[in-house]
Symmetry: C2
């Protein structure tokens, strides 16, 4: 088993934090995104979508998509539960994980992809759309601050995969110069709490 990883990109960090919370160690192989190694013919055989992370399993299966990799480890190493406990709870955690992904993570990364020097020439950038994403990301910061007014973590009283997605998004937002504002006291309190967990270093 091997994890195709990149320290540069936000998605692989989601999986690294998830693994750290579970206390699982998986050998890694760093893919050099700056050199477009993820777009090489060799890597496209591993993941035709060209993304990292990818978990290469012992039977040769190449499992791509961060949340799918997390799902595998949630099933094989259930404790601590990061994707919910019973039917209702699993669904509620999935709702919050998706809300964090669609409204926060995707808007932050959408802004970065469409406005950064890094992606210039790599994808068709539309800076005007990047600005739409930036405004949506700013709004999402405010919404998440509101959601956190009455609970400890994103999906309730327990740390879950929804916190991981949100943490990685908030940290990555520095690259689009978006930070937690002093008035966002709930978001700031939560960010300090999740950042102080050892897994945040992953």
């Amino acid at each position: 088993m091997k994890l195709y990883d990149s320290k540069m990109a936000p998605n692989p960090r989601r999986v690294r934090i998830f693994l750290a919370e579970k206390g699982i160690q998986v050998p890694d192989d760093q893919v050099d995104l700056a050199k477009a190694q993820n777009r090489s013919p060799e890597f496209l055989k591993i993941n035709p979508m060209g993304g990292v992370p990818v978990l290469q399993m012992d039977d040769g299966t190449n499992l791509a998509e961060s949340v799918a990799i997390c799902r595998y480890f949630e099933e094989t190493h259930p404790e601590p539960r990061l994707m919910g406990i019973d039917a209702r709870d699993k669904a509620v955690v999935e709702m919050w994980q998706r809300r964090m992904e669609l409204n926060l993570f995707s808007t932050v990364t959408g802004c970065f992809r469409n406005t950064s020097e890094f992606f210039k020439g790599r994808i068709p950038q539309v800076p005007e759309y990047g600005e739409v994403c930036r405004q949506a990301a700013e709004k999402a910061f405010g919404m998440v601050d509101g959601f956190l007014a009455d609970r400890k973590f994103i999906a309730g009283e327990r740390y879950t995969i929804a916190d991981i997605t949100a943490l990685v998004a908030v940290d990555f937002a520095k690259l689009i110069k978006l930070r937690v504002s002093p008035e966002q006291k709930n978001l700031a309190r939560w960010h300090e709490a999740v950042s102080s967990r050892p897994s945040a270093k992953a």
Copy 2:
């Protein structure tokens, strides 16, 4: 239990097909998106993100996000399995579901959102980004055609939630005037097969 639904939008159809495959009936409440009922203060109390579908559970929980609603019914009504069987299979199905969502569904709906009359004045549209989405959607049609060369369904030999996401995306693509081309024989064969299931009428 009640499903806030809309016959107009693609996401609720994913849940309706999923329920039809499981043989589950849930009373529905139609939300009028044309009249922006989903943006009314009453509806935003049910789902602050303003999206449909939402499953209102008997304990009062409002469960939003299509895939989270599917997850709930997969847990409570396991047969037929639409989200995988064992750990590896669940992860592989989730990978394909997400690939269909990120590369096909999101590009089709991203084009529609940024170019349609319907969304004019409702969201900040960026037509240039809509065209980027259209090209990505066209490319995704070709990729899915390739993936289907060696298997019956998107995630392998069994019908899964990945087929549902892909079917809804391909059907919704008519609204951006994108259709399966005659050369895409695998995609056409698959589309005919999944469209002929009774659930496709949902």
